[in-house]
C-alpha cells in the first residue's frame, strides 16, 4: 500500500463523496481507509480531525444562511462538545491503538440510528411545553421546509439533559477523530426534540467546532503532518461537495443499501485491525 499525495487525496475524495451521500461524514470512512494505506491509527485520527473543519464548514455555511441551523442551541451545546473533544483527544494520546480500533467499531454502530431516522418526518416535533431552563436559553426556531411547503416552528426541550449528553458525543468525536454526527443528531431529536432538518444542520455546524477542539490537542502532540493533513483536506472537501450535488438525484433505497454496505464493511475492518494489531 502506498501513502502518497495523489493516493491520499483521491481516497479522501472518495471517502468524502460516499460519506456525504450516506450522511456518515468523511472522517468515519477516511480513517479506516488511511489505516489500510499504512498510516498509523493515531496519525490518521489526528490528521483527519483537522480536515473535518473544512468538510463540515462548506455545508454548514449554506445551512446557517438558510436558517436551518439553530445557532443559539449550537452555541449552548458547544460548551459541552468542546470540553468532551479535548478530553477525548487527550485519551487517544494515552490509550494503546489496539483499543481505539474496538472503540471505533463500537461507535460506528451508533450510525445505525441513521437508518431508523429516515422514516421520521419534519413534523416529528410533538409540541411539548418548554421547560424553564430551555425557555431561559431562548431555544426555539423556525425554518421554511421546501418538501412540506410550510414553515416549521419548534421549541427545544430538556436542554439540561441534552447539554451533558453532548459531552459524550464530543468525547467520542475527539477520541476517534470523527464528527459523531449520527450520535449528535440522535441527542438533538430524541432528547431535545428538534425537527430532523434543524437537527442535521445544527449537528453539522457543531462538528466544525468539535473538530477544532480536538485539533488543539493533536497539534500540540506532534501527530499532525501538514502534507498528509493537506492532502486529506483538499480531497475530502472536493469529494463531499460532489456528493452533496449528487445526493438529491439518488433514490432513498440506493442510499440506504450503500449506507449499510459501507457501515458493515468499516465495522468489520476495524474489528479485524483491533484483533490483529499487537
Amino acid at each position: 500500500m502506498s501513502s502518497d499525495v495523489a493516493t491520499i487525496a483521491l481516497t479522501s475524495a472518495l471517502a468524502g463523496f460516499v460519506g456525504s451521500l450516506i450522511g456518515l461524514g468523511g472522517g468515519a470512512i477516511v480513517i479506516p481507509i488511511l489505516t489500510l494505506l499504512g498510516i498509523p491509527l493515531k496519525q490518521a485520527i489526528a490528521n483527519s480531525m483537522i480536515t473535518l473543519i473544512a468538510t463540515s464548514s462548506g455545508s454548514a455555511s449554506a445551512y446557517v444562511r438558510e436558517r436551518l441551523t439553530n445557532v443559539k442551541a449550537a452555541m449552548y451545546l458547544e460548551i459541552f462538545t468542546v470540553m468532551g473533544a479535548i478530553v477525548g483527544a487527550t485519551i487517544t494520546l494515552l490509550v494503546p491503538s489496539k483499543y481505539l480500533y474496538f472503540f471505533f467499531a463500537a461507535f460506528l454502530c451508533s450510525s445505525f440510528y441513521g437508518i431508523r431516522r429516515k422514516v421520521l418526518t419534519s413534523t416529528s416535533y410533538d409540541g411539548k411545553p418548554q421547560d424553564k431552563f430551555s425557555k431561559w436559553l431562548e431555544l426555539e426556531g423556525a425554518y421554511y421546509d421546501e418538501s412540506l411547503a410550510e414553515e416549521v416552528s419548534y421549541k427545544i426541550v430538556r436542554a439540561h439533559i441534552g447539554g451533558p449528553a453532548m459531552m459524550i458525543a464530543g468525547l467520542a468525536a475527539g477520541m476517534l477523530g470523527i464528527g459523531a454526527g449520527a450520535f449528535k443528531v440522535a441527542i438533538h431529536e430524541l432528547i431535545l426534540k428538534m425537527p430532523p432538518k434543524a437537527s442535521s444542520a445544527t449537528s453539522n455546524f457543531i462538528i466544525g467546532m468539535t473538530a477544532l477542539a480536538g485539533s488543539t490537542v493533536f497539534i500540540a502532540s506532534g501527530l499532525v503532518n501538514v502534507v498528509l493533513a493537506g492532502s486529506i483536506a483538499v480531497g475530502a472537501t472536493v469529494g463531499s461537495l460532489a456528493g452533496s450535488r449528487l445526493l438529491p438525484k439518488m433514490s432513498d433505497k440506493t442510499i440506504r443499501m450503500l449506507f449499510l454496505a459501507v457501515l458493515i464493511y468499516l465495522i468489520l475492518q476495524m474489528v479485524y485491525k483491533g484483533v490483529t494489531s499487537p
Binding site: 502506498s2 462548506g58 479535548i86 488543539t216 497539534i219 499532525v224 501538514v226 493537506g230 472537501t237
Partner: protein, 124 residues
C-alpha cells in the same frame, strides 16, 4: 435598513475561511511535489510536522516563515492555521454580535466556549 444577521456573518466567515485555506493547501501541495520531486509522503519529515505548544505563537512563526522564506511546509502550515482559525473567528464574531445586540446571556455562553478553546490552544 436591516443589518446583517448573525447567520449571514457566520455563513460568510465559514465559506471564506475554508475556501482560502484550501487554496493555500493546494498551492502548498504543488510546492511539495516541485520541491521534493516525488509525491510520496514522508511521515517522519520534521519540516512537515506541525507541532505547537502555543498556537498563537505558532501563527506568528508560520506567518513570518511564509513572508521571509516561503516553502511547502510553511505554506501548508499557513493553510492549516487558517483552517483552525475559521471556527475560532466564528465564535469571536458571535461574542461581538451578541454584545452589540445586548444579549448578555449569550455573550457569556459564547465567551465560555471561547475561553475553553483559547485555553486549549495556549496551554499544552
Amino acid at each position: 435598513m436591516r443589518g446583517p444577521t448573525l447567520e449571514d456573518v457566520i455563513g460568510y466567515i465559514l465559506i471564506i475561511g475554508v475556501t482560502t485555506s484550501l487554496l493555500i493547501e493546494s498551492a502548498g501541495l504543488a510546492l511539495y511535489v516541485a520541491d521534493k520531486g516525488t509525491i510520496e509522503i514522508d511521515l517522519s519529515d520534521p519540516k512537515a510536522c506541525a507541532r505547537s505548544q502555543d498556537f498563537f505563537a505558532y501563527i506568528i512563526d508560520v506567518t513570518s516563515s511564509v513572508l521571509g522564506n516561503p516553502n511547502y511546509a510553511s505554506v501548508m502550515a499557513l493553510g492549516l492555521v487558517l483552517l483552525m482559525l475559521t471556527p475560532y473567528i466564528r465564535v469571536v464574531a458571535s461574542v461581538v454580535y451578541f454584545a452589540f445586540y445586548r444579549n448578555y446571556k449569550y455573550v457569556v455562553i459564547t465567551l465560555i466556549v471561547l475561553a475553553i478553546l483559547t485555553a486549549s490552544l495556549i496551554v499544552h
